[in-house]
Amino acid sequence: MAETVAVPVAPLAPTESDPERCEDEEELRGNEAEENNQQTGPVAAAPQNRLAKLPLSRIKTMMKADPDVSLASQESVFIIAKATELFVEMIAKDALVYAHQGKRKTLQRKDLDNAIEAIDEFAFLEGTLDA
């Protein structure tokens, strides 16, 4: 008796096209992907989590908050999501340098402030974060 009653809630996860792969396998994989992602909290449809961790729907809402933006292609929303992910990784790592200087293993707010002040790419953040 099959244990998984495959009722795909979300579209199938993207996989390399393999004509011999049967439908059941694909649905299982889709379910697996969903289960893995559920550990981290509410997520959007399974497929994009393979490539982007941030929910595209939320990113799109934020983009639309700009009154000058009328339409945004799906791809552009995805790229911004991905770029934001890279940004978070970058700023966390750069701030860590300052934590190490202070001989700490815990990243603190002041490490972020130091990184923002010191690194050119983060200049746009100056004055934007809550005190």
């Binding site: 096209s17 939320r58 791809e75 991905k82 815990t106 990243l107």
Partner: protein
């Protein structure tokens, strides 16, 4: 359309996960640092969007596209992002194509299944009718004999 304040923030759980995966094991992140990074990420989205939109408007387009975002990254001095972004975009496009083909295939299969089912039902109907006919014939024979 009114956006709720929480809609303009990114989910904390995901931000935390991205931070944790970027840093070595054993490093902790204070709540304030996490909050600041999340805020910074939101600012990044808005700034990148605005920048990308400028490129779209310059090209007299109403729809922001992937190229606009790439140009924005360069403008914002995040050239280091360009290569990984290009690779991710390729993978994303492939995935979208696969999804489209998969849903088209599903629609096709569903349609064929439906046709098969109605064919099966017709055949069953025919069989039943034949059986009834045979049963009737037997009865008639008996009557004749009698």
């Amino acid at each position: 359309m009114a956006e709720r304040p929480e809609d303009l923030n990114l989910p904390n759980a995901v931000i935390t996960r991205i931070i944790k995966e970027a840093l070595p094991d054993g490093v902790n992140v204070s709540k304030e640092a996490r909050r600041a990074i999340s805020q910074a990420a939101s600012v990044f989205v808005l700034y990148a969007t605005s920048c990308a939109n400028n490129f779209a408007m310059k090209a007299k387009r109403k729809t922001l596209n992937a190229t606009d975002v790439m140009s924005a990254m360069e403008e914002m001095e995040f050239e280091r992002f360009l290569q990984p972004l290009r690779e991710s975009l390729e993978a994303y496009k492939k995935g979208q194509k696969g999804k489209k083909e998969a849903s088209e295939q599903k629609r096709k299969d569903a349609k064929e299944k439906k046709n098969d089912k109605s064919r099966e039902e017709e055949e069953e109907e025919e069989e039943r009718m034949e059986e009834d006919q045979e049963a009737e014939n037997e009865v008639e024979e008996e009557e004749v004999e009698n």
